[in-house]
Assembly symmetry: C2
Homo-oligomer: 333 residues x 2
């Protein structure tokens, strides 16, 4: 499998994505294509002693800034590393693409350049979040601020296939994020989506309050991109602030410091458990090829995990199955 990696996206670019390419190549995970300014890639590789043997470099002179208008990816920034990486996939020269760059530009670029699966209304970001009890997918987390019920139904279908095939969750339980469990709860979007999900060929378990997500209430938590993003960012903020508060408790006195040292291993493990980069990146569900966005501050390790994720998607024919499911749902309408 050939994976195009945007070398100039994210806070740790170009080092982190380039190192990931080198690691993946060395481990024989995949054929990697490093996309970006060739001279700069070679310069960094030499400086950081990263051997580029076996890595194909595809030159792209520009970089799309995070603050750029997302639609500029096909215009002003058509020669950016992100756009060129997406084009490689669109033209069949790569099978998957990974980037840590601008989220908005990546959604627009994937939709316009790589294109959606036939029948899919909108692509959705779907990170897999670790909870106390297993993990769950949150879909969408921001690709679509305004959603209609039919879009949420598709997110549920796509998310179920992903969880079953990529993460081995049998008959994934789909929940609709809502502020109460009764079918009359929520805004019009939730009330209408509830009806659609109930009728669909899905293991729909009803509304799920975000309070119970991390306790394993469902495997696929469906929401519009606004609500999903609010859940994700509240979660991130709370985990972050609790760990920083814990640090204060640990560093309070010499005795507490020693006690904390004893617990270090367990706490480190807990922190890793809460870190959702453990499951790679956010797959952009609904696009006709594996397109994976990793967090802006990702290190090489996360890029490698995302590559494994793309490989699993290909191996399990996830996109083929998604196309079938969407088409079958359409026939049912």
């Amino acid at each position: 499998m050939r994976i195009a990696v945007d070398i100039f996206g994210g806070d740790n670019a170009p080092f982190a994505p380039l190192k990931a390419c080198v690691c993946a190549r060395k481990a024989g995970i995949a054929e990697v294509i490093a996309v970006g300014d060739e001279a700069k890639i070679k310069e960094v590789a030499e400086k950081e002693q990263l051997p580029l043997d076996g890595i194909q470099i595809v030159h792209a002179p520009a970089v799309i800034p995070v603050e750029a208008n997302p639609t500029d990816i096909t215009k002003k920034y058509a020669d950016s590393s992100m756009a060129v990486a997406l084009k490689l996939v669109a033209q069949g020269e790569a099978d998957a693409v990974i980037s840590a760059g601008s989220t908005g530009a990546f959604v627009v670029g994937a939709t316009l350049i790589v294109k959606r699966i036939r029948g899919v209304r909108r692509a959705a970001f779907a990170p897999v979040i670790p909870g106390c009890d297993g993990k769950y997918m949150l879909v969408d987390v921001g690709a679509n601020v305004d959603c209609r019920p039919e879009m949420l139904l598709q997110f549920a279908l796509l998310g179920s296939i992903y969880m079953e095939k990529v993460l081995g969750v049998k008959n994934p339980r789909v929940g609709l994020i809502n502020i109460g469990t009764e079918d009359t709860k929520g805004q019009e979007l939730q009330v209408e989506t509830y009806k659609l999900l109930k009728e669909a060929s899905l293991n729909f378990i009803g509304n799920v309050e975000p309070r119970y997500l991390s306790e394993g209430a469902c495997d696929v938590a469906v929401a519009d991109g606004f609500t999903g993003n609010v859940v994700l960012k509240t979660l991130e903020g709370t985990v972050h602030s609790l760990f920083s508060e814990l640090k204060k408790v640990f560093y309070a006195t010499p005795v507490s410091k020693i006690a904390a040292l004893t617990l270090k291993k367990g706490l480190k493990k807990l922190k890793n458990k809460m870190d959702y980069s453990e499951y790679g990146g956010s797959a952009l569900l609904g696009i006709s090829k594996p397109v994976i966005k990793v967090h802006g501050d990702s290190q090489a390790k996360t890029f490698v995990k995302a590559m494994e994720q793309a490989i699993k998607m290909e191996k399990m024919n996830v996109i083929g199955l998604m196309a079938e499911a969407v088409s079958a749902a359409k026939d049912k309408e």
Copy 2:
């Protein structure tokens, strides 16, 4: 000040609210009126050795169940402890009311029985949440699932007055909960509300991502009830699950148990810090009298805190100031 307490609301009723009445009376905090089935109140008081001296009992034979249709509070459950407590306030026989019962019924009851401040479109629930860096008010957290921009503007006005007068925050910074900081971010509701808040007599600091709430990004975080509820419940769930995960780390080995013991005091303090019942209950902003909802699982301590909160609201003329602010904003329109 005379405070009516719904003795039959919440998971720990009637003991917790009744104990709170006894404590408050003993400490001379307020004149308390215990509302509920008189025979049962006397029975519990005797069994639990709670002296009822100085506590007025107002009989109400029924209890409104959590699953009841909220609008039934003025019909089928007009003789419930919650409805009767609200009526006492409406008739001027009490100055404030506290309940841990059904949230929906309390909103409807307060709106229909006690009534809103003149000019207020909707009442909103506004808990004060502890963060790492200070505290912030979240308004609304569920009284209004569907909101218009003008409602959010009023929430901001009411919330600012509360934070300034009750919690002593000077010139409170108002933030609009959104998925990005730019003024074009969010759904139509956020985009339109942004414009209104910018023009208002408020210390509006712009959009705030929920990621930064606990770091003290703002003092009053404004949202529609659906979004606010999602933030609150995600936050609650994350804190709960992190603490239960921590427990596992602490109880993992004999050595970790000893280490955890050393940290116990600091951790307990942290847990209390994260517990938003520390600030009492959620004031139902926009109602013409102090109406305070405490969490369903509240203990006596939280009821007492809520009484102190109601007293502070009265002492600082919070409702008078809110009426002025709403009227001034209306004149500006």
